[in-house]
Symmetry: D2
Subunit: 446 residues, 4 copies
């Protein structure tokens, strides 16, 4: 790190990159990134060029000595890196479209992170992440791996269990989003709100909420019961909650919890939308992205365009910059990230990934101790953890039976027979992006 | 215990009682029960008289000095008892009929032990059991409480957490039944089979199977995949399993697991049966019981009649006698029962109930250490444990919201809205047997 | 807390009080303490008056509306309190003198906190603290109890296990002192040093040290091996460490660790000092205190006098003010305090007290997760925890055998026979301050 | 195992071997060992021949087809083995003499199993055991490794942590000896006594005692307080206990606990004996062994001679035969052995070795769940576990500092300086049997 930091972003052609560049520019005084390497695959070269050129214009306008490198050569980029961020998408949005629509055919929600769709996103992503880890061990063994790619919990679990890279953090914008939502619901400045969070990625609960230091958890739960449909994210239908359910739960569910506590209504909603418009969330996102890239291409643009904020993933890159800054500067502030549990949440294995409030130090995030999760919440968290671990194992082994097991135990999938149908269909649909399952597929398709 | 044991059976008018009496007669040499008190409630007096008279004829025929007492006075019976068994059914079979049929109206399996039906069975049963515990603390503080009443896991959890009676064991015939099924499937003498079991009541897994000491778990799983429909219980549709699912699971599911791993097919099956015949399992059992009581009334009968074995609950009383005998004689043999976990299964609280192989000593059952359950299994087990704990809390507090929470987190219930509908309907249907919910019901029905 | 805070200091006549008052004055802007009640027992009335008058002069000089109350009526003081601090000493310094000297007669170090002396300090202190807790439940149930009285670890353990007051924190100046020592050894500004601490009170280890964010633990251990005699506290002989021992330990021992890892040399040192001068640390402290009180009496003094800092307990009251300020203002900074473990350190019961880095919130200190302590350190920590728990039980029950057990398992005591001799001698010497042992003592002395 | 078992005994020239052979003969009907390979090192060839010939005469007399092989070729012996027992002693009794006497020079008890002597016995033994494990992985990967060599707890810990052989059990005769002692003290048939045991090797506690199923723990503790000097082993001075200490402890200490709870008296006793006779226990054992071997040489002897029982290690080989028989026959009886904890004792890592009652199955010993050890006991157990783990690490790494750390944290060693002196002296004395420390020793002696 002698004179400035080297940062590498894999999936650099992503539409999120301008936010990341903006964050680096804003923090330059305390976080002296001198080289930013944007890496992508040949299929993404065009987008990489567009985004990379915008990044260069942004840096130039800021008048900072940050060198932007665009490359398809991942190993060259990784050599000597200090921080590696990953935000790639194997199979692009076309794959997500299948993740979401195929399960629907069998009456099951696709859910592209912790559902059947997420299983397949994990099966495609984990081998690539582990390949990056092997490169890192060789080329930048002291670097931090900061992953945004979903399913971020499953990916972090896989890195912790199947790689020797242990300096890894998984990032999500749900924690920030929940805080913003609460502030909005209360109509107060978000700075006045503190939210204690614990659970798993996309399965995180707000255990306590404070406004100016006063506990207001019950108030927030009551308000959510009244206006639940306002408390969600761009990509998740904001169906309302049963007030008494929230009251007894005693913890703030995250937007994704609707898939598990309102499965029937969410399924109806998705089926309805799919039937009426033939559209999944993936297709909506695809359209948004195309529009963004058109904006990015304008030569006159040299700042992050406003339209980016309207995209679902707001705060993602902001979260990454804040995290890297706190690690580099040993800030010891508190951020909610995915890391090794290490005993923070009782009953979850020490070496599993959890999403939890952490003190961010030079030595990485250290979880604030949670102890026992609320009783009613604990079971579902464990079930998703079982799913994540089984899915990670399937991704690493390429074993058909293990993949079927993961699919069957997913709480959105209602039987082993349904699981098998969805699995077989998806294995076929994604065959080009699942090399570890190549043998399986030959058999399945024979 | 000076000269012989005093045993008390609450719900003594149950059709299972003759099996219990037979067991005591067969073991008289080593288990000298001199007094057996059969206790029941006024509504059950007629059955108590019929069963009690049969019991007296059985003892007389055996020529043993076992005194049979029939009484409606529970406190008199409990005074100075050594062993108390409970096998009562609050609301009789009519209540079970509602437990099973009301959820079906909303497209949800009733499942009278770990499902929505089981929640209501628990809400009715737990206050009574805790009342018995209060009597025991006063009248027979050193006695063992051995519970057969379902949901046996939830009831044991409630006794351990909400009573000072800690000498308690929950009993089930599923463990013995699984072993018998395996022996039958292999066509071998059950004595040659050993099965290591761990989990929760009606949520127990066979972790290893041995034939003459040789591990044959994989073989059994393969056979179950081939002929899964033979491996079930009288009261559970024996739908077959996906072979690859079983292989990856790596553990023998119990018959009740079909409700969780084959929810879709089980629901279809139950709905089909209900629609076509308007019949639930409760009604089938009701008919069987009536037939049994007609047999019991025959004055010439002085042994346990053969028809009893055809009833679903085979081995229940046998299990109780074996357990009591091993406690009394400090036998240190291994039986599968529901007890305080105490660390046996990693990740489940020490003070929660689990169903696990135990060494049966004079000091009670001591679990054989299990360590970590298989990854894929652990999540579902934890989810049912969360359900059991939340249900037990609802039973004790009579709190509507807590009951709604329990209903919502049950894995068979697919949303908070559905949960609320089923809950409200069942609270109304069972109102005579739910005194702790009296206030709630007034409001609900207003 | 509506208009300003009410704070109560039990043992208000302590020589530390001026530091506390200074801290409140300095923080008045953010920590609006309007009433400070200094409470003491009749034997301490004179000192209370001297210190209290100084406190009033200090507040007056600062021109702040903090009202100082001096009282012997603890219950009046506690009514409606927001924060209660305890810094009393049952039996005064004369008792400490016995704690230190009696064990020496039998060839055993007294060690007035975690040694045999500490056992007796605990036996005298814990009943009084639990009495205060009972008052608090009645008079100020929402107040925080912040305890400085040693043995602070054992006292916190006792409050957590034997009282319903759970909003309690134990305080020590060792953590700050260790950081200061390291900064001094490195000759750098303490602000540049961060030290991760975990263990028990007076049994805490520095797990990592950072200078400007860079890990320098090994360097510090090397330096300590070279100049160990400089790294101690006023009241503990600074005997040097074996360099290779420190290197393999891999964690920074606290000054008190010399009693356990250098027992032989510390005993020789104490015996030598005692024989040559007939003096224990208690007597030195006594002399220092007399000098302080002479200074405090000077009417012209209206600030904290410099001499106070030369006393062993530097930073104690500073630590209390920092803690209260961070709780009140929900600062979420990190301080090292004694609290419920809650899973932070693996293998220590969740409901035991540990001394560990905590995020200080409005809801109290929340431990930063430690996970497993270094292997070699873990055993000693557990042994002291066993000692603390057994000692607390003895204090609560007044049971002679339990006190003997606590004495015997203390690592400084080398046999059950020696333990019995010391115990009997000390029970006699302290009989006036051990009401729970009144019966025992009658027997012992008969 | 097709036609009979192959058993290998490493250290076959041990004086215990005839007991082992007797055990195999007595159990031949159910435990068909057809080949017994006695393996030893060249220095032990003479003893191997003497013992081996006796073994052959014993088998011949019994008229059984057990083939006895005598060999110095360990790898030939291990090929295809079913059970491997280890009972070797690196450096013979001469080494033990040093283990016991060198620490005494520095005023420290040697204690050849869990004390400083035990550290060195571990440093000599563990590399050899791990070498055997490497051979086993290659030559008999499915065999069970049953170790008698002390320190059996540390050796089991080392095998579990540093080898891929997980089918391993450590054996000790203390558990059987404690039961026998209690029976003798009560003057009853040992068959009537049951003793629940848990802890570590030579650090095991009797948690409950039953006579004919009735709990009599308190009675036994009272009797031990009265006649403590009768309750020990041949090799441990039977110093009496303080009655109130035992009462509060609430658990039966094992004979070795005198070293930790009566350190002062045991040290005086050992020093006294050493000064007066210049004799350690090693020398006594050496003389006993010479006498035994003279007896073994008599051609007319063809049974286990009576004199062997008078040796300290009675029941050792009996324990091995019982264990092997129960594994082979899947007997599911209960024996107390050293195995992976797996959660049986709370607070001890799952992958550490503990000595605990186990159900012995074909799949190996499965611990009966203990839960929390008594509070006062837990700390010492953890301290010895820390010592064992640190010692095992030193043995594997040959690291001087780690060995010093192990020595310093041993509860019998009272300072880092004393530890260093003992360590340096012993490293020199044992240099021929400590190849991993060769480099260290060069430096130390330079
Ligand atoms: Mn996310
Ligand atoms: Mn059952
Ligand atoms: Mn302190
Ligand atoms: Mn032994």
């Amino acid at each position: 790190m002698a004179d400035g930091l080297k940062m590498v972003t894999i999936g650099g052609g992503s539409s999120y990159t301008p936010e990341l560049v903006e964050g680096l520019i804003q923090r330059y005084d305390t976080l002296p990134v001198r080289e930013l390497w944007l890496v992508d695959v040949p299929e993404g070269e065009e987008k990489l060029t567009i985004v990379g050129n915008l990044a260069k214009r942004m840096v130039k306008k800021a008048g900072l000595p940050i060198k932007i490198h665009l490359t398809l050569n991942r190993r060259e980029a990784l050599t000597g890196a200090d921080f590696v961020t990953t935000q790639f998408r194997v199979g692009q949005l076309a794959a997500r479209e299948k993740d979401e629509s195929i399960p629907l055919k069998y009456g099951v929600i696709g859910q592209e992170t912790n559902g059947p769709g997420g299983l397949f996103k994990g099966l495609r992503t984990i081998p690539v992440i582990l390949d990056i880890c092997r490169d890192m061990v060789e080329l930048c063994p002291d670097a931090w791996l900061i992953n945004f790619t979903n399913p971020a919990g499953m990916v972090t679990e896989a890195v912790l269990r199947y790689s020797s890279i242990q300096k890894t953090v998984g990032l999500c914008n749900v924690p920030i989003g929940m805080k913003m939502n609460i502030a909005e619901m209360l109509n107060v400045d978000p700075e006045r709100v503190r939210l204690d969070l614990a659970g798993l990625n996309h399965m995180v609960f707000g255990l306590n909420v404070y406004l100016d230091g006063e506990a207001i958890t019950d108030t927030v739960l009551r308000l959510m019961g009244e206006k639940g449909d306002q408390f969600s994210m761009k990509n998740i239908a904001g169906l309302g909650w049963e007030p008494e359910f929230l009251q007894a739960l005693g913890a703030i569910p995250c937007p994704y919890h609707r898939y598990y506590y309102k499965t029937r209504e969410m399924l109806e909603e998705e089926l309805e939308k799919y039937r009426s418009s033939g559209t999944t969330r993936a297709q909506v996102v695809h359209r948004l992205e195309q529009e963004l890239f058109e904006v990015y291409q304008e030569e006159s643009l040299d700042v992050k365009p406003k339209q980016l904020e309207e995209r679902g993933g707001a705060y993602y890159s902001e979260a990454a910059c804040r995290l890297i800054d706190s690690i580099y500067n040993d800030r010891r502030d508190i951020q909610t990230v995915n890391v090794r549990n290490n005993g923070a949440i009782s009953g979850i294995p020490a070496d599993s990934a959890v999403e939890v409030d952490c003190v961010i130090t030079r030595d990485g995030p250290k979880p604030v101790t949670v102890g026992e999760l609320p009783v009613a919440v604990f079971g579902l968290v464990q079930q998703i953890k079982s799913f994540e671990r089984t899915a990670a194992k399937a991704a690493v082994t390429g074993d058909y039976s293990t993949a079927l097991l993961a699919m069957t135990i997913n709480p959105l999938v209602d039987s082993d027979e349904t699981a098998k149908k969805i699995l077989d269909d998806m294995l076929k649909a994604h065959r080009d992006h699942l090399p570890p399952f190549a043998d399986t597929q030959k058999k399945t398709m024979a």
